[in-house]
Symmetry: C2
Subunit: 329 residues, 2 copies
Amino acid sequence: MKKLMNRPEDYVDDMLRGIYSAHKDDVTYAAGDMRCYVSAHKHAGKVAIVTGGGTGHLPLFLGYVGEGLLDGCGVGGVFQSPSPEQIYEISKEVDGGAGVLYLYGNYTGDIMTFDMASEMCGMDGIETKSIVGADDVNSGAPEVRRGVAGIFFMYKAAGAKAAQMGSLEQVLAAAQKAKDHTRTVGFALTPCIIPEVGHANFTLAENEMAMGMGIHGEPGIWNGPLKTSRAIVEESLDTLLKDMPLSRGDEICLLVNGLGATSIEELYIMAGDAAEALADRGICVYRSFVGEFATSMEMAGASLSICRVDEEMKEWMDYPVSTPFYCQR
Amino acid sequence: MKKLMNRPEDYVDDMLRGIYSAHKDDVTYAAGDMRCYVSAHKHAGKVAIVTGGGTGHLPLFLGYVGEGLLDGCGVGGVFQSPSPEQIYEISKEVDGGAGVLYLYGNYTGDIMTFDMASEMCGMDGIETKSIVGADDVNSGAPEVRRGVAGIFFMYKAAGAKAAQMGSLEQVLAAAQKAKDHTRTVGFALTPCIIPEVGHANFTLAENEMAMGMGIHGEPGIWNGPLKTSRAIVEESLDTLLKDMPLSRGDEICLLVNGLGATSIEELYIMAGDAAEALADRGICVYRSFVGEFATSMEMAGASLSICRVDEEMKEWMDYPVSTPFYCQR
């Protein structure tokens, strides 16, 4: 295991110390607990949005806390859920009187955590609503799908609506609209290593890729020889468009996300291939997002997400945001 | 070699197609040559800044073309210099009548390229000045040092001064001031592979790191067992501060740069250790930059740069910028 770190058991807290030290004007923590990550800027009367999940996916999840996006994030151990108490403490801290939206990925531990936090908030008179990202097409039928990089589009939609002072129902509806129109396909080229484990829990041969692998190394739909970028793009788009059919002339936002170790150069090669393959299908890319949005530490690989957009969605996708990890003007 | 790509010989052009496709409102190219990368936004009367260098270091070099930073970039093959003709064509395109600053890394091929382009511009009546980044302390004595991630601080200073409509002399002086106050130490954990070569030209053992390795794999000052983040930080700061002594109470900007495959989590662990180790020495971090600023494709490793700042430098470092690859509000 080659990681720049100190003791494996301090991985998360050492990381958090670095983040708070680097971005002290923008973020802080609640309840004296570094894992109760909140924006340093409060907005009275605005619906607050809280996310959370395991460490190891930066900039997911905490990197989206900031202006025009989210208000707080529960930080779990590596690939582990935060606790209900942490989400509750964060909710109390960020609630601006207009309620709190819980927006996170479709994983069992996280669902239990947020449901329990919601009950605790209810007893304090803080209204909450919940919605989970579930965009990973190859992870199963719609009701059991995992949430991966496509949650970015839900953050953008809900974050914009909240910043425009929408009601809790309206912010939830914005997130739901983005969810309904978003699909993702991912693929890994190498595994990653959990610091406290010290070795990968699977291997891929030198010429092998894993189509559909999850961001915690969940098995995909096939392992086989590495394909060209263009071939991967074609297969991915076939999968995406079979699940969410689009018509010629439809517009989408495209997200080409790196899983951690894949170079930015390669992501742009895929972005170019995806734009051409979409054009061949008569689909227009309204806006492209290329970079690391949801990673799996040092895993090599990428994911492609598409989000169908209408005029309202375009406005949300273009809405300016600024966090220590992500800025869009 | 596990890369998301098509034919190795198309690596650079496929990447550029992706970049132009994703960011068509912001960047374009001159002279019908995709490797003559220029901003889509021209500013009459402003000093233009042109950079350039080999492909494989994104967001360096072209990623810094945009508002508040640079105006054009010559794109070479992987780890190869662009041609003088390309820099000349870019210069003609971006010149706003106030002259052009060439700001690039201290590599022999690049120096020849920019010097010849400067002569060609002179015959057209376009005034140019040149300055090279040379921040990599472990690469040798000051006059032969290579430029690495610390060039970011030169871009920030010169870009801000140019945006404030400084003269060519003033923009050059801003770059020189940032250069004089910037130092970098880098270290690699794994090599990277040039697509058309197909294999790494050196290896590091499973527990080994290379202190001082350059971003093209130039040999460093020692190879040995991987140290902890805190130990690497201490050694790096000792090297940096021996070369550029600072006094208690001095303020710096800190740049923790990932070389490509290293996770964002690890970079923040180092950033936290660096902030503490600097505080122990009485040095105050005015602003931190953490992420991928100058990479070597899928090389694992990182670099630490420090830039001493006074009030003028702080203003330049805080100046808002927006490019397709980097945004700072």
